[in-house]
Symmetry: C2
């Protein structure tokens, strides 16, 4: 079936799925758990086909590692569906209600967004997680995984679709799989049928998608995060947080790329830092190089996302300069200050324009699981809809419901009746 | 100054304005009230220049009417700023807080979006309303009004900018005026500097903007609204609601364009409706034409926004057919059912995918003032960020704030510490 035909079916299905009750959605998810558990062998066999092809195609070892499924990984996948089942249904929440006039009651209620396009790379477990989140939030989803996981994605998708559709007719046509590169470019044109695109993967993937579609895109293209060591910082804490934010997992978006250091503390802090982070390649501005040995940072370093054990270091004159540097060169993802001065911290938190702003803790905390959102769709650096780690709530929007007894606007325009606008519980 | 330079200043100003306290923003708005009050004569004189030019250029009477300012209109403009002052500040609201671990506290707080681009037509009072809403919500705004209101917009803008900047240095560069057609196309390219575009005006304006920018656009291009007369409808109520929804103000987006009538009630209802709505040109489907006289509707009529005293009429076999028709041909703006059957109403409300869905009242109610939102930025048919009539809340987004005492992620990954994830008040 062509992707546009799938998307048309998806759109139609989305109207029905929007009002599926929680117990039905949870039943569908329990069916998925059973199906995956029952067909472990088949999943592992299909996964082996992908691994064999990866070997033939000389795919990078890091990628192969993410591709591998084992019985233990399948256990974890099953657990993650259980987590989604236990999450509160984000749909159907009455956010507020207001009496506009006697017997004219307005309410604002959460509903699913509609049709979500999800594009992701390698890990086949992402397909399961994304599908579960969409089922729970009542969204129809069109999935496109990486070609290197073709067989694994196909078998998982077929199992999930079968299990979900067996739960109730309302799930018919609510899951779709796109499989070719052409499908992606076709998908990106369907702004009348797809309500939101969520790409998960490399910066390049996200950027390409943002540049080639009129569909709103939820995601972040860059993670250029900063740690600012203020003059009032505790030196030991500053060292521990620098190590955690840079080295604990350098390949991820919430690891820091630039360290900003207040000039009053630079002489005391920088030599200890250089000693402590021996495995990190440092790139310093001129004032940094007066204190420690490092490569010379060029202007591009301040907006580079290394995703590696490389750190640019700059000495700043003031809190204000640190804030300006972050707002100017950063990607508005996550930035942190280390200081004992609560006034400086407050200013930093207020004026740094990022999705997460932190005081005396590591930027690595900005993540849906650590924030207790239950499950994460991704981290958004958008300034509308959802910002920061996005949970199930980010997959919903609202609907106004107005119930009257024959009320006409004319009566209010002509002054025969007047609005009461009384908020209800 | 070129628009890109203005936008750069705007972006910088937005970081500071984001944390301006409520009393300062209200003080700025009170200054605006005083300035407009004091300079009435000047405003009226500049407005007269626009009116003279409109006469010379043979501008349509309807447009001229919206352009005219009088001392009474200025009173109303001043009142509307007072309304905005009285509204609650939408910024700085703590939506929730959670203890992630001992002394590691996460909160989610509302913040302004940043830089808003507002493009609007004719009415100079729109400039004042939009500016007030942006000041109150801490957003920097770049305004572009219609060229036919050039002088009126310029004098109002200068007065507002002067009054606001006199209140506090934080307001410097927070208001900008774009004045040429070229400015619009330049603005639309600045997706790195402008966070949200809000066009207010004709469908054509909104559509053109959506098609020519990567900046998110909040608005609705079409208002194809429906009223469905179910078989369980009270005939008198159905007549009154049809009249109100079609005739009370046919030129607006929440007036209906199509009337759907259940076949079981069509014979009783349609002749009365035709008799009652004599001033309306009816376009009926075949079954309608068997009952009343009307022009024959063609397929395009079901997706036409007449904005005039024209109404397409279709007889449907069932509630399901009505819902499918609305989801298929409508613009997902506002749709209503008239019925005595609460089960049918519930199904309609659940399955119609529109920003506002109504039961036994007129579609004309879907409006920020009538909904009690205080002031309206516009009506959104977007499926993300904000949907339906949008008040001040739609001009905000959130920021995560995380405060610790030196917490590192490594401790949690290594199992030395565990998250408590305890929701706080």
């Amino acid at each position: 079936m062509k992707i546009i035909e799938q998307a048309n079916l998806a759109k139609k299905a989305s109207f029905l799925l929007a009002s599926a009750p929680t117990d039905l959605k949870d039943k569908a998810l329990r069916n998925v758990v059973q199906a995956i558990d029952k067909h472990r062998q088949e999943i592992l066999e299909e996964n082996k086909k992908d691994l064999d092809e990866a070997r033939i195609n000389n795919v990078k070892q890091a990628l192969v590692k993410r591709l591998i499924l084992t019985s233990e990984k399948i256990d974890r996948i099953i657990d993650s569906i259980g987590d989604v089942i236990r999450l509160q249904d984000p749909v159907g929440k009455k956010l507020w209600a207001r009496e506009l006039d006697e017997s004219l009651i307005l309410s604002n209620v959460t509903v699913p967004i509609g049709v979500i396009g999800m594009i992701f790379e390698s890990r086949p477990d992402a397909l399961v997680q994304i599908s579960s989140l969409c089922i729970k939030s009542g969204n129809v989803v069109i999935l496109k995984g990486g070609s290197e996981a073709y067989h694994s994605n196909r078998v998982l998708f077929d199992l999930i679709k079968g299990a979900v559709e067996a739960a109730d007719p309302v799930f018919k046509n609510t899951l779709h799989l796109a499989e070719t590169r052409q499908d992606i470019s076709d998908l990106l044109k369907l702004d009348k049928l797809i309500d939101l695109m969520i790409p998960r993967g490399s910066n390049q993937l996200v950027r390409t998608i943002k540049e080639n579609t009129k569909i709103p895109v939820l995601g972040h293209a860059d993670g250029i995060c900063h740690l600012f060591i203020d003059r009032g910082a505790d030196l030991d804490m500053a060292l521990r947080l620098t190590r955690d934010a840079k080295c604990q997992y350098p390949a991820v978006c919430n690891a820091i790329e630039t360290l900003l250091v207040h000039r009053d503390i630079a002489g005391a802090f920088l030599p200890k830092m250089a000693e402590d982070l021996k495995e990190v390649e440092l790139k310093g501005d001129e004032r940094t190089l007066e204190i420690i040995e490092a490569k010379k940072a060029v202007n591009d370093d301040w907006s580079a996302e290394y995703n590696d054990l490389i750190l640019s270091v700059k000495v700043v004159d003031s809190l204000q300069e640190a804030i300006s540097h972050i707002n100017n060169y950063g990607s508005h993802h996550t930035d942190a200050i280390v200081t004992g001065d609560s006034k400086a911290a407050e200013t930093f938190i207020d004026l740094v324009d990022s999705s997460s702003v932190m005081w005396n803790c590591s930027t690595r905390f900005s993540d849906g699981f650590r924030y207790g959102l239950g499950a994460e769709v991704g981290v958004s650096t958008n300034k509308i809809h959802a910002r920061g780690p996005v949970g199930l709530e980010g997959l919903t929007i609202t609907k106004f419901k107005l119930i009257g007894k024959g009320h006409t606007v004319a009566d209010y325009v002509e002054g025969k009746r007047h609005f009461t606008h009384r908020d209800l519980q």
